[in-house]
Symmetry: C2
């Protein structure tokens, strides 16, 4: 294997994977494969030590690693022990926001990436969207239009619209990326406001995108999404310039 | 705040942030701001308990959280304690690969996302690339051509080429994404081989991209990268069909 410049691929070279890390991955397999369901209890410390021939500190560290990755909860007290759970996707936002803070990323960098990603997602959605999904997109726009100026409805329906399109694109990875970015740098959460008139313009933009999706026209869907996001970015830059240079911070 | 469908933004709702999580974030600030440099030692457990009015279990758990996030190493023995380090970017690949495994993503999903991302990166690179970066890209192609059929050189220079373009795009987030995806699903690491003839064709494709970058032509750079990746994907699908359906696995 030649040397590469990809630091993301580097093993934790300051030391070899510890036995607790290896044990954690062994213990994770039945959880990840769905053999053990959320809510079920894993064997207790004593049983694990016997089954894997590992010392107590190794077992404890392995369980703690699984807990920080969100795969189990360690319940204390009688009847406690390691309980399997479904890891919250928010743990990915946490890891990404940490790396972005270290890299010195700003809100602008994050919106920039969304502006690059979402047109590609719209393009794929035009090739794969189902009739049911088109109906749901229509419903989202109708809800927006039925509640002009209602901030809560706007936030919920705007989020729903973009999530539906990511789902329609059937691209797990892009879906994960764009939702993670939205979680890290959500304009609304940090105070961006939209007037009733602005909200109506956004409903129009959503409608243009859905029209292109319904026509199964990838070029038009991509262009409509690009225009929609460029418009949003212009608005942010104009009205909230200080927001765009704000550094991304480690969330938890 | 209205309810949204974004699970990535959900707080860990099964319980409020624990005091150890809050303490971990307080302790992380001087590390993230660069006030404390890698290699330096943080105060010991006793001092932290006194300074933050926290119990020993809380301090220990906070330190362990920082250790699993790669911000410190806990050295044991005399002269030990929490030592600051630069978190390895590989920790992000770990978190992403875990989410992707849970979501049932395949290698095909990952290459699909790279195929969507890299043309956008090439577009941005055409707008921002420096003369020095163009020279480095030329050097990478020259090294490829000087060693026909050498697998090690090919892997290193291919990686270098794509990393240089991501850097030239000056988009921290896209750079992080594409490098993370490459770390998670690197064809070469799982056995994809390229003949000398194939490698020469890749050098040609790289040259077409660099020509477009040198002309500062975003449309042409995007199209050239799109064609390059589409060709690579056709090759993978044709020669390694079983690889494309392989599920992404949690790496460590």
């Amino acid at each position: 294997m030649a040397e590469t410049a990809n630091e993301y691929a580097e093993p934790k070279s300051w030391r070899a994977p510890k036995s607790s890390q290896r044990l954690a991955h062994v213990l994770a397999q039945p959880i990840l494969s769905g053999e053990v369901a959320p809510g079920e209890r894993l064997p207790n410390e004593q049983e694990m030590m016997a089954r894997y021939g590992a010392g107590r500190p190794t077992v404890r560290e392995a369980l703690r690693l699984l807990e920080t990755r969100g795969l189990i909860v360690l319940k204390t007290g009688p009847g406690g022990g390691p309980i399997v759970r479904r890891p919250p996707k928010a743990s990915l936002s946490e890891a990404l926001s940490l790396v972005l803070q270290i890299e010195g990323a700003s809100f602008r960098d994050v919106t920039d990436a969304r502006t690059a990603l979402e047109p590609m997602i719209a393009r794929r959605a035009a090739e794969r969207v189902s009739d049911r999904q088109l109906d749901e997109l229509d419903a989202s726009i109708a809800a927006l239009r039925a509640n002009p100026g209602d901030h809560e409805v706007f936030v919920a329906q705007n989020q729903r619209f973009h999530t539906l399109i990511a789902e329609a694109a059937q691209s797990v990875v892009l879906d994960v990326f764009v939702n993670t970015l939205h979680a890290i740098a959500d304009g609304v959460r940090v105070g961006v406001q939209y007037s009733a008139r602005k909200q109506a313009a956004i409903a129009d933009a959503h409608e243009a995108i859905v029209d292109a999706l319904r026509a199964r026209d990838p070029d038009r869907a991509e262009a409509a999404m690009r225009e929609h996001l460029a418009e949003a970015e212009r608005y942010w830059r104009h009205r909230y310039p200080e927001l765009m240079s704000r550094p991304v911070q480690w969330t938890y």
